[in-house]
């Protein structure tokens, strides 16, 4: 079975006052030559351990930028991201990312892609046999052991995304960052993967930040939906709790009044108060 996510976490979690992940007054502008684009302003967010947070907003508003800042792949212009009181300044395996386009290394097999991460993160602490087992265990978590010797070019988009998730989970990250993980998949595959992620979240209790532009996905999966206003200089417009008990079943939820209400609130935000600017000009 899966080992506890991170044994050290339990000691720190007793301190209730300390936020687990804190995004504090983050601002971000990109400079290109003389032109400066102000992408994010005044972003404040405190995320508890084990929380599943969905970030939703129209395309181009700065969701990926926010996620990359938490990942350490992009620097803030001002403000800070604190993970367990440590300021995030560079990327690291404690903040594993599942990228939108899977970004598996095409010259490695499915197994080798996950093993690369396992070897890097646990090279010093696990034996060779343990690392092999851990790789297989994470592949079986996403039901991909049958294709472990295939290369990314030989498997479907949904399978690639599963492997990307396995690679991220195998790092035992403190925070799992998902950038529109199911965006490019057909509805059926997407539903399957959503169920897988819910199941994994229930079993491991990971802290997850997931970017999405799918309202149903956000309501189904998350504990909390962070809605972003339109860019430029986007910020958090609304922060909504999803008060639905787990485990959740997509079929039963459809008629659930809380589900319907939450869904409506997000839709209202996205399509009335913060209409897509591109739709505006088209009208």
């Amino acid at each position: 079975m899966i080992a506890p996510v991170n044994p050290t976490l339990h000691t720190t979690s007793r301190n209730e006052n300390r936020p687990f992940l804190k995004i504090d007054q983050v601002e971000k502008s990109f400079k290109r030559g003389k032109a400066t684009t102000h992408v994010l302003r005044d972003i404040n967010l405190v995320i508890e351990r084990g929380q599943y947070v969905a970030v939703i907003g129209h395309s181009g508003c700065g969701k990926s930028t926010l996620l990359n800042i938490v990942a350490g792949l992009t620097n803030v212009s001002s403000g800070a991201v604190l993970l367990e009181d440590q300021e995030v300044s560079e990327p690291g395996p404690d903040r594993a990312v599942v990228f939108q386009n899977h970004s598996l290394l095409p010259w490695l097999t499915v197994y080798e892609n996950v093993k690369l991460a396992v070897d890097k993160v646990f090279g010093a602490t696990k034996s060779r046999a343990e690392r092999h087992d851990w790789t297989i265990e994470n592949l079986s978590l996403v039901h991909m052991t049958h294709a472990k010797d295939k290369r990314p070019g030989e498997i479907s988009g949904g399978m690639k995304q599963r492997v990307g998730i396995a690679r991220a989970l195998a790092m035992e990250p403190k925070v799992l960052l998902l950038d529109e993980p199911f965006g490019a998949l057909d509805a059926l595959t997407r539903a399957h993967l959503q169920d897988s992620v819910m199941e994994i979240h229930a079993r491991l209790g990971n802290t997850i930040i997931m970017i999405t532009h799918d309202v149903d996905e956000a309501v189904l999966l998350s504990d909390r939906i962070v809605m972003m206003t339109n860019g430029p200089a986007a910020t958090i417009g609304e922060d909504l709790r999803v008060e639905l008990p787990r485990p959740r079943n997509r079929l039963q939820l459809v008629a659930d009044p809380t589900y319907v209400r939450t869904r409506e609130a997000v839709l209202k935000f996205l399509y009335e108060r913060h209409k897509s600017p591109s739709l505006d000009t088209a009208a």
Binding site: F30, S64, T65, N68, A71, G72, L73, T74, E90, P91, G92, P93, R95, A96, V97, F99, Q100, N101, H102, S103, L105, P106, W107, L108, L116, A117, K120, V121, R151, P152, G153, E154, G157, M171
Partner: protein, 323 residues
Amino acid sequence: MTAHVRSTDFVETSAGRLPATVAAIPVEVTPKAANDQGDGPVPAAHENTDQPTPRSRFAGLAEKSGEWLANIVPPLLVVLALGLIWEMAFSSPTASLPPPSKIWAEAKDLILDPFFVMGPQDIGLGLRVMTSLQRVAIGFGLAAIVGVLLGALVGQSVWAMRGLDPVFQVLRTVPPLAWLPISLAGFRDANPSAIFVIFITSIWPIIINTAVGIRNIPQDYRNVAAVLRLNQVEFFWRIMIPSAAPYIFTGLRIGIGLSWLAIVAAEMLTGGVGIGFFIWDAWNSSRLPDIVVALFYIGVVGFVLDRLVAFAGQIATRGTAAS
């Protein structure tokens, strides 16, 4: 898929001008989306993620044998026809060049036994080719190692690129033989000089193509490496080399061709027992049929070298090419 590497490929990169290849030699290039990555960390959208499904092996095999015949018959016919024309054009006793029948009569020993040894300077053409190939192996091998390392440096660092690229652009236009006098002066010996000429001739396309390959590593792979905190050495072996392999092999293939061009020319001047000097020697003793046979050897060996590097490239880039 065969494509001509156009000198305009990848010319504009965010950090400056970088030509795709040194020479416009037709080479097989793995189609790969040439992304111009910004310096931002947002994953660049690259289109090389989806690939055709592999064909069934069996169907491929049957198709291959037919293809093979279709590939071998036309060139055979052309060679036969050319031989006939040649024979007719030069069969008069006053002709300046020997016809094939005369070459066969006078240079039969060279054609039939490539590996005879009749004395220190009288050996078969196969053995001569071997000594030339030895020099090429050393010179080209060094060029491959140094070229890939320098190319990685230039591709990875904007400042190395700014400093080194103009120097490379000037040096790469120097013809192989122009290097010979200065290398003779430096090494005071024919053999290392010939090797140096090969090295300096073949290194430029390797450097430049490697640099282009490194610059085209998708931002996604860099992000993966960053999240995993791969160190420089791990990044070089696990990401850079495999990702840039199609480009590196393009450079190696051009490089091996140039090596072979350079060695024959260099040996004409430096002497020894290589195939190049054999031609020069035959010319001085008016053995024209021998020269024709040697030319044939050189052509075939050059062709085989090219195919070998291409084949190695196909094997090495199977993973990358599939994506």
